[in-house]
Amino acid sequence: MAGVTYRDDLPAGEARPSKLSHWVTDWGGIVIDGVSTVGDIAIFAYRMFAWMFTRRPARGTILNNFYQVGVLSLPVVALTGTFIGMVLAVQSHRQFQMIGLENRLGAVINSSLVRELGPVLAATMLAGRVGGAIAAVLGTMRVTEQIEALTIMGADPIHYLVVPRFLACILLIPALTIMADFMGIVGGYFYSVIVLGIDHAAYLQNSSDHVSGFDLFSGLLKSFFFGGIIAVVSCYRGFNCQAGAEGVGQAATAAFVMSFVLILGIDLILNILLDAFYYTIWAPE
């Protein structure tokens, strides 16, 4: 949003714009831009859903995107999950030892992993790895007129490029979250039991007592939303990429930042709703 230009040649008697009006204009512009972007993303998502339920994407595009999103992300998600499990063990052990509850370590590590850290960290990793790549590839296609070429050859770019990526993200990001959870549990167990010497049976018993099926369900439910956010935001940013190498770089960065912020925002909202749901259904007497 361009700022207000002050003019020295204003007719006599005409008031010069005040700093307040300058400030209001700038912030007004930012708000209008924000609302307009939200509207654009909503229209983009609507068109994607319309195509998704109208015609199945080509098998080749689905398999390729599933490979890119799922298979190629597996090692990094597994590694991140393992480290997070071990870091949780390192961080929590001292505090739990001080109050004599180190045998309860399994409960805190595994419940944090399954409910929160597994889904959010897997989504964050994938917003960087997958979201950035989607925005960069689609941005390059926009800049080099490949998206226009698809249109002119009768292929709808949203159906051809966005729907397979969306499907890959919403179906495989939950699968990758399960992988991050599993490797985190293994990493936490390894550090707690093998390195710190916590009793094996107590660790497992506490884990099983304090981690419920609902925890796993809530983590996976969130990961569906995170996958959807990453796909829609990254594809939108790629489609609206500005010209040149800088434009592609900005699209990739904006895709990651916007996905990350939305992931955390949606995480908060879903946690509030899931908590309310849990206590409504299984409210303690």
Partner: protein
Amino acid sequence: MLPDAEDQPLVDCRNVSVRFGGQSILSHIDLRIDHGQTLAIIGESGCGKTVLMKTIAGLIRPTAGEVVFDGHDLHQLTPAELAQTRRRFGFVFQNAALFDSMNIFDNVAFPILQHETASDDEIAVRVMEKLSEVGLPSEVAGKFPAQLSGGMRKRVGLARALILQPELVVYDEPTTGLDPIMSDVINELILATRRRYPVTSVIVTHDMQTARKVANRVVMLYPRTRLQPGESQVLFDGPPSDLDHADDRRVRQFVRGEAGERIDELMRQTAAVSHAWAGDSAD
């Protein structure tokens, strides 16, 4: 009485205007393109010739006016009808716009897979035939766009545009960035295509060699911002042979590649910008 189908132009731009934000790019353009015609749209950079070409191809929706293709207003068609109509278009992009993720064979076969149900053998025969028509050996079929030279990529783009034998082929700067020999190869290929089947062509170019050699009609556009009030944006519309004797001095200057008063205009603009900067700094 309804007009005879033969009298009806293939493309009819009626009072077309295009604005991007607050900037007017095209204003009240009327342009009829008859069947079989090869039209070159020329003009300096920024005059709106690429925007006009993309509007004709239905890629840009005009702010006002209509683009009628074979009797149908392109922008009134449903998405399905528009996709079907686009089967009748071929578009050669400036930098070929080949799909990086596909090899040359898949790039050229793409329009067939989108619009027809053909056997693998039939697709292979047609792709190889088209590659051969544009002078490319069969070995390139397995290569990726990044492995080809600029001239080869342009020829692949031409093969892809022609694979469905379209009625209208639109070329965006077909010779830009090529050496003179390869430019002439592309010109010859455009001529050969016209000889092979009755295609209507629109070529956006600022290469006068191409305009003179290939086109049988030339339209010159002028940037909106530099027109006098009430002046038409189309400065010239006629056969290439009339270009050198055009009434308008700006057309003759463009054709001969003379800067003329443009250099003074640019200097004045630069001086005005420098003055504004100096004024801002003093504040």
